[in-house]
C-alpha cells in the first residue's frame, strides 16, 4: 500500500511536470554556436563552464529553435524517473522522482519530489537486538515482520528552489528541502552561486547549506535526538583550450549531534555468530550482554574534500570526463575516488559509460572486533561504512529522442535508461565481506 501511494505521488508530480510540455509554448532560445571568429562575444557565445544544471547548446539543433520567444511563453520542463535498487545484503529500494522547472527571463523556479520505498533484511537489521528478532512489529511499516527481521519504510523528499541568472555569467540558486520517514526527518536550505571572470573563461563558484535532522526509533519511543550540519563549497572552473575545461572544487561539512544508528549495537569480546533459521544473527562468547551496547560516536565530525575534474572533447559531441576526489575527516576516514566517463551527445541520442573506484581507510575508533571490555573504549561502531572499504562502480546511460521539436514552441521528449552496478568489499569485516548492488532506472524528460 505504501508503494502504491508512493507511485501515485510520483505519477501526479510527473503529470504536473509535463503539463505544459511539447507544443504548448516556445522554449528558451538556446545559444547558437558562433560561426565567425569574432572576439566580440555575445552573452550566448559562452559556454558556462559550470553549466551542468542549466540548458546547454545543441550545435545540431534546428535553426528555428533559436527564434526568440517571449518570457511568459517558456513552458515548464521536467523529468519523471522510476528506479529500483537491490543489493546482495537483502536491501531493496524502489525510487520515484519527478522534477519540474519554470523559467521567466532571468528567474526560474524548480521543484523535485522523491519517494523511496525501502525494504531491508540487511546484516544491520539481522544483527539488531530488536529488529533481528522474529515477530517484531516494526512501526516503520506498521506490519508484523515474520521473516527474522525485515524492516520497511517509505521516505518522502520534497525540494523547492529558485534561481537567478543574468545571462552574463552571474547566477544564484536558493534551495530548500524537507525529507521525512517514520524514524527520521530533516530540513535543509542552501544558497550557491557562480560568477564568470577573465572574459568568461573562468568561473568562480561557492555555496553553503544548513541541515537540521531529527532522529527517532520505531522501537524506542523515548529516543529523540538531533543532528545539525553545515556544508560549504568553493571552486574555480576554467576553459583552457577549445577542447578542454578543468574544475577544482573544495567541499566541507561540519556535523554535530547524534550520528549513530538507533538500531545497530556493538558486541565486545572475541565473539562468534550463529544464523538462525529465521535469518536472525545471534552472538556468543561476548563480553557482557550478547545484545551488545548501542553505538557510541563522537558528536562532531568535520569532513573536507578536494575534487579535480577535467573534460576533454575527442570530437564534436564526444567527450571524456575524468575526476579525482580526495577526502579527509576528523574521524580519520580518508578516501580517494578517481573516475572516468566517456560521453557521446548527438542530436537524437546520448550515451554515457563510466567507471569509478573508491577506497577509504577506517575511522580511528572503528574496530572489526572490540575485543576488550566496553569500558576500555570511548567510541565504538558496527557500521561497516566506517571500516576499510574498497568499491568499484560501473555506470551506463543511454537516452534517445522520442519526440523532436517541430516548432520553436516545442520541447524535446527524451526516453532514457540508467544502470549502475556497485561492488564493495569490507576487508576485515566478518559479518559482510562484500556487497554487490545494482540500480536500474528509466524515465522521460522534457528538455529545451
Amino acid at each position: 500500500m505504501q508503494l502504491a501511494r508512493a507511485l501515485l505521488f510520483v505519477a501526479v508530480m510527473t503529470i504536473a511536470a509535463s503539463a505544459q510540455a511539447p507544443g504548448d509554448t516556445p522554449p528558451t532560445p538556446p545559444p547558437a554556436p558562433t560561426a565567425t571568429g569574432s572576439d566580440t562575444p555575445s552573452a550566448d557565445d559562452y559556454r558556462d563552464v559550470l553549466a551542468g544544471e542549466k540548458p546547454t547548446t545543441d550545435p545540431a539543433a534546428p535553426e528555428s529553435s533559436t527564434t526568440a520567444a517571449s518570457s511568459d511563453e517558456i513552458p515548464v520542463t521536467g523529468t519523471g524517473r522510476f528506479g529500483v535498487y537491490h543489493d546482495s545484503d537483502a536491501t531493496t529500494v524502489m525510487r520515484g522522482l519527478a522534477t519540474a522547472v519554470k523559467q521567466w527571463d532571468h528567474w526560474s523556479v524548480n521543484a523535485t519530489a522523491v519517494v523511496d520505498a525501502v525494504t531491508s533484511a540487511s546484516v544491520d537489521v539481522k544483527t539488531s537486538p530488536a529488529l533481528g528478532k522474529v515477530d517484531v512489529v516494526t512501526g516503520a511499516s506498521g506490519r508484523s515482520s515474520t521473516s527474522g527481521g525485515e524492516m520497511s519504510d517509505t521516505r518522502y523528499l520534497g525540494t523547492v528552489g529558485a534561481g537567478w541568472n543574468d545571462t552574463h555569467g552571474h547566477a544564484l540558486n536558493l534551495t530548500t528541502s524537507a525529507a521525512t520517514e517514520r524514524d527520521y526527518a530533516s530540513i535543509s536550505a542552501g544558497l550557491n552561486g557562480s560568477t564568470d571572470v577573465a572574459d568568461r573563461t573562468v568561473t568562480l563558484l561557492g555555496g553553503f547549506t544548513v541541515t537540521d535532522n531529527w532522529i527517532s526509533s520505531v522501537l524506542d519511543s523515548t529516543l529523540h535526538r538531533k543532528m545539525y550540519a553545515i556544508g560549504w563549497s568553493g571552486g574555480v572552473a576554467r576553459v583552457i583550450t577549445p577542447t578542454d575545461a578543468v574544475r577544482l572544487r573544495y567541499d566541507g561539512k561540519l556535523s554535530d549531534g547524534y550520528q549513530a544508528s538507533p538500531y545497530r549495537s556493538v558486541r565486545f569480546g572475541d565473539w562468534t555468530t550463529t544464523t538462525l533459521s529465521t535469518g536472525q544473527i545471534t552472538f556468543a562468547n561476548t563480553i557482557g550482554s550478547a545484545d551488545g551496547l548501542p553505538e557510541n560516536y563522537p558528536e562532531t565530525r568535520v569532513s573536507t574534500a578536494l575534487t579535480a575534474e577535467w573534460v576533454h572533447a575527442l570530437a564534436l559531441g564526444v567527450g571524456v570526463h575524468t575526476s579525482v576526489r580526495a577526502a579527509h575527516d576528523s574521524w580519520g576516514v580518508d578516501s580517494l575516488t578517481p573516475s572516468i566517463d566517456l560521453r557521446i551527445a548527438k542530436t537524437s541520442w546520448r550515451m554515457q559509460l563510466g567507471y569509478r573506484f573508491y577506497a577509504q581507510t577506517q575511522a580511528n575508533f572503528f574496530e572489526d572486533k572490540y575485543t576488550m571490555d566496553p569500558s576500555m573504549y570511548t567510541n565504538y561502531s558496527s557500521d561497516k561504512e566506517l571500516g576499510r572499504e574498497v568499491g568499484h562502480l560501473g555506470a551506463f546511460d543511454v537516452a534517445t529522442t522520442l519526440m523532436d521539436p517541430e516548432t520553436a514552441n516545442d520541447a524535446r521528449m527524451m526516453l532514457f535508461f540508467h544502470t549502475e552496478v556497485f561492488e564493495y568489499s569490507y576487508p576485515g569485516y566478518v559479518l559482510l565481506p562484500s556487497r554487490t548492488s545494482a540500480f536500474i532506472e528509466a524515465g522521460l524528460s522534457w528538455e529545451h
Binding site: P59, D124, V246
Partner: protein, 72 residues
C-alpha cells in the same frame, strides 16, 4: 592530495597563457562536455553513495536534505 593540488595548479598555470575565443567553444558547448552531463542521474547516484561510502558526502549544492533509516 598533494599530487592532485600540483596537477591542478600546473594545469591552471599553463592555461593562463591561452585565450579561447567564443567562436572556438563549439565543442565545449556540447552536453557531453558538461561537468555534470545528467544532473538528476548523478544526484540519484550521490544519494546512494552517501549511504554506501563512509567518506562521501554531498557538496553544498542545492537539494541536499537527507534522511536515512540506517538499514543499508
Amino acid at each position: 592530495m598533494k599530487l592532485v593540488i600540483r596537477f591542478v595548479l600546473v594545469v591552471l598555470a599553463v592555461a593562463g597563457c591561452t585565450h579561447v575565443r567564443p567562436s572556438q567553444r563549439e565543442k565545449l558547448a556540447n552536453p557531453s562536455m558538461q561537468f555534470q552531463m545528467d544532473p538528476p542521474a548523478e544526484s540519484q547516484r550521490d544519494s546512494i553513495l552517501e549511504i554506501t561510502e563512509g567518506g562521501t558526502y554531498p557538496s553544498a549544492g542545492p537539494g541536499t536534505a537527507g534522511a536515512g533509516c540506517g538499514c543499508n
